[in-house]
């Protein structure tokens, strides 16, 4: 089965099943990954699903979009490869993806 790994700011890894066609935020919330709250339910309007993509994966999953920038721009822990997980629909080829969960979630 394919999987995605969330690494918390404390360095704990959470490897969870990757269901395609669902957002990474939904996957994280459903599997109880700590640090991702998804307060706005996936509207790119709260910034509580902030993750940082391993640079090796950016070609596959892409960089942040304009709508994500609205919330990301204000975050002091923003990285060049920061994304809002709710705006990332998982795909089969994402199997093995690793993302960091920064402590600062807005």
């Amino acid at each position: 089965m394919s999987s995605v790994t969330f690494v918390t700011h404390e360095g704990e890894s959470h490897e969870v099943p990757l269901d395609d066609d669902r957002s990474l935020m939904q996957i994280a919330v459903d599997n109880g990954v700590p640090g991702i709250d998804g307060d706005c339910g996936g509207e790119a309007a709260c910034g509580t699903c902030h993750i940082v993509v391993d640079p090796a994966w950016t070609d596959t999953v892409g960089m942040s979009t304009e709508v994500e920038e609205e919330m990301l721009a204000m975050n002091p822990e923003r990285h060049p490869t920061s994304r809002l997980a709710c705006q990332m629909t998982a795909a089969e080829k994402w199997d093995g993806l690793v993302v960091q969960v920064p402590e600062f979630q807005m």
């Binding site: 709250d37 307060d39 706005c40 509207e43 309007a45 204000m74 002091p76 822990e77 807005m106």
Partner: protein, 478 residues
């Protein structure tokens, strides 16, 4: 007052207002130019009121049941709806019968009410079409309160200003503050009377909020109640939101705030210059940031930013602290559930904030013609996003009137708003409430509300002004 004395008064008032404006220019470089700026603006406002004969706008009269009123006549801006316990039924009617509802006249002019959770998110997210400028309350504050606050600015100006202060609520900073907040909560709780009823609002909610704000600003601890006083005055103006403060009183309060806050700034600068370690407070943060280290030279912006944090953190956390106790009394089975499982505290905190929704709304203005849920909104129209209604939306929350401390989607509440203005203090507020309940549970078996609560007059703040409770301490385990 006879005509003669009235006009004389106006003339002399105008003259002194003029003097103030002049001296404002002269004093621009002095230590306290904002005093002068404020005074000029206040005199302007006072003069205008005298000329137009404005007096008190609101007198309380009983509000009929929502079912007896035609839909078109419903005015959600009535500042007595919440106090009279009618808010929920009125909002429910609008939400279900005309979710984007136009009110052509009100003491605050015509406005649209946006009442469903989904529509509110649509508006809150789209700052290009729905501007937060110039104010986020339904009416207009008096001129001297036009201080520059980023809550009422659109990007990019908003983002720059918020970025300068956002760090004060960074997780690392909150961890630093947690210990101090907890010990201050303990002191307050250990001193509460257990042999007689007392007012929870005064002795707990206000006191704890004052302590939290003093921590956030590193404000002189023994003067912490001043922060509450200033914020209360600034947050309850009649023309702004139907509140009760008298303009002269507000003005005196703002003058006092301007003095107190600039003294705080200069004192901090002096202590840092003398080698004191940097703190984790807001002033240190502003003084260490390239963009804001000279903020004191931009008085209206300086005052605006500080007042925003003080107001933002005052009524809101206070009324969540009172609202939690009230809600657990209204739904006693939830109190039992909590005692059986204290791990529910974090989720309960979100649910309390949803249930109370301390700020009823934020206001926006349409920047172009647009359609919202089938309604045609014209450029320049005022829209009020009723968070208090969104948090009762049956489409999102099951049995929305009830407090359910293990509600699955409690965190989807809209009380902090969404989009670029989403509450900056949300994590601090949650922290503060979590600590309160973590410290209450081991101390008290019961917190019983013994009298009907009293509520605040406002269409903006959903406030509880008096909540008499009696505590039952936990039996001593020896």
């Amino acid at each position: 007052m006879t005509m003669k004395t009235l006009s004389q008064t106006i003339i002399s008032t105008m003259r002194s207002a003029g003097d103030s404006v002049q001296s404002a220019a002269e004093a621009a470089q002095s230590a306290l130019p904002m005093n002068v700026l404020l005074r000029g603006a206040q005199l302007y406002d006072k003069t205008r009121r005298m000329v137009t004969g404005d007096d008190k706008i609101f007198t309380e009269t009983p509000i009929p049941p929502a079912a007896d009123v035609a839909l078109a006549d419903i005015d959600l801006s009535n500042p007595f709806l919440y106090r009279q316990g009618r808010w929920a039924e009125y909002a429910e009617r609008v939400r279900n019968e005309a979710p984007v509802h136009f009110r052509p006249e009100s003491p605050f002019g015509p406005f649209w009410s946006v009442t469903r959770h989904a529509d509110i998110i649509t508006v809150d997210k789209n700052h290009e079409v729905f501007s937060a400028e110039p104010f986020i309350i339904i009416g207009e504050p008096p001129r001297f309160m036009d201080v520059a606050m980023f809550i009422a600015m659109d990007p990019p100006r908003h983002d720059q200003q918020r970025a300068a202060v956002q760090g004060v609520v960074a997780p690392k900073n909150l961890r630093e503050m947690e210990g101090l907040i907890r010990s201050r909560v303990r002191e307050v709780l250990d001193d509460l009377p257990t042999d007689r009823p007392f007012n929870w609002v005064q002795d707990v909610s206000i006191e704890l909020t004052a302590r939290m704000l003093a921590t956030l600003l590193d404000f002189p601890y023994d003067q912490r109640r001043k922060l509450v006083e200033w914020s209360d005055l600034a947050g309850s103006m009649e023309q702004a939101n139907g509140g009760q403060s008298d303009n002269d009183e507000v003005f005196r309060g703002m003058l006092d705030a301007a003095k107190g806050l600039s003294a705080l700034w200069h004192d901090k600068a002096a202590r840092r210059a003398a080698g004191e370690e940097p703190g984790f407070d807001l002033i240190t943060m502003l003084q260490s940031n390239e963009d804001t280290k000279d903020l004191i030279d931009r008085p209206m912006e300086f005052l605006g930013n500080l007042i925003l944090l003080i107001i933002g953190g005052n009524d809101t956390t206070r009324n969540s602290m009172s609202g939690g106790v009230l809600a657990l009394n209204r739904f006693p089975d939830q109190f039992e559930k909590l005692k059986a499982n204290p791990d529910l505290i974090p989720n309960m905190v979100s649910e309390i904030i949803r249930w109370q929704t301390p700020l009823a709304y934020m206001r926006r203005v349409a920047t172009c013609d647009t359609i919202l849920n089938g309604q045609f909104i014209r450029k320049g129209d005022k829209l009020v996003m009723w968070y208090a209604s969104g948090n009762r939306d049956e489409r999102v929350f099951d049995r929305p009137e009830e407090l359910i401390i293990d509600r699955k989607n409690a965190r989807n509440h809209i009380a902090f708003g969404f989009g670029v203005h989403r509450c900056m203090g949300n994590r601090l507020a949650e922290l503060q409430l979590r600590i309160l309940w973590e410290e209450l549970l081991p101390r008290f078996e019961n917190i019983e509300v013994v009298d009907e609560p009293e509520y605040v007059q406002s269409n903006f703040v959903r406030g509880i002004s008096k909540l008499m409770v009696r505590l039952t301490p936990k039996a001593e385990v020896s």
